[in-house]
């Protein structure tokens, strides 16, 4: 099983490095979409299947928090797990992100292992990338 990821960050370098670290981590990524701000992220998600969102907070046009809030208003997008990536990993920032609907938080800088662990946690899969209740869900 592999997953589609969208990386939302106004820095093209940071988008590239996040994509690189996700790849290095061993996470089973199918397609990686990119967006330069929250508005672009919403547009990409409205036209493509996305399994998990990895987003920065501070961006022009629409911040990561504003994008989260817009996603929670949409009956499809509200179900997508969201990981906030930020240098500002103090308790206030983390609380704000979680209250806005984030499922996970990664503090920059981060290792591939931290990245994979958080991705697996928010998607709800085990270390092999399989859904944790796979054995129970195929009896039909």
């Amino acid at each position: 099983m592999s997953f589609n990821v969208i990386v939302v960050d106004d820095s093209s370098s940071m988008r590239s490095v996040i994509k690189k670290i996700i790849t290095m981590s061993g996470f089973k990524m199918d397609h990686c979409f990119e967006a330069g701000n929250g508005r672009e992220g919403l547009e990409v998600m409205s036209n493509n299947w996305v399994d998990v969102v990895v987003t920065d907070i501070n961006m022009p046009v629409m911040t990561g928090i504003e994008m989260l809030q817009e996603m929670k208003k949409d009956k499809l997008l509200r179900e997508i797990p969201i990981i906030v990536v930020s240098t500002e990993a103090n308790t206030e920032r983390v609380r704000e992100a979680i209250e806005s609907g984030a499922s996970g938080f990664i503090k920059k800088p981060f290792t591939p292992e931290e990245c994979r662990k958080t991705l697996h946690e928010v998607i709800g899969v085990d270390e092999d990338g399989n859904y944790q209740d796979d054995d129970e869900g195929l009896d039909f």
Binding site: E88, A89, N90
Partner: protein, 141 residues
């Protein structure tokens, strides 16, 4: 502050630094960011050209002979100062909601006042080049 620099450079740029206050001081690029926390001020990172090119290539998984645009170098430098400053502030004040400005970047040369009379500064060296770090604290900030 030094721990933050080591951590960010190793994890994100795969560059291993050590402090050397006697290293040559000659930089080509400066990235800076303003911060407000229990202290306020400005952090500046000064890069020599070889180092910022290596950092960018490492970060973006580029080959040694790949061309790197000036804009990409600047983007990398801005991300570096953003991460170092955020990491530093988290270490000194994990409970407060500090704020950071947007990072800036500019080219500099030998006529630039790299350190001035900065009280908080460090010079780091690596196999790829040198970086200087300055924290200018706003009085009563």
């Amino acid at each position: 502050m030094k721990d933050s620099i080591f951590e960010v450079f190793e994890k994100m740029f795969f560059v291993f630094l050590e402090e050397d206050e006697n290293a040559p001081v000659n930089y080509d690029m400066e990235a800076s960011i303003d911060f407000t926390s229990i202290i306020s001020g400005r952090m500046r990172l000064l890069f020599d050209g070889d180092l910022i090119r290596t950092m960018t290539r490492n970060m973006l998984n580029m080959d040694a002979d790949d061309d790197v645009s000036e804009e990409t170098l600047a983007d990398c430098a801005r991300e570096a100062v953003n991460m170092v400053c955020g990491n530093f502030l988290t270490k000194i004040d994990a409970s407060d909601k500090f704020s950071l400005s947007g990072p800036r970047c500019m080219d500099v040369d030998a006529s630039h006042s790299f350190f001035g009379d900065a009280e908080h500064r460090a010079i780091m060296v690596s196999a790829s080049g040198n970086v200087g770090v300055v924290v200018d604290v706003t009085p009563d900030g």
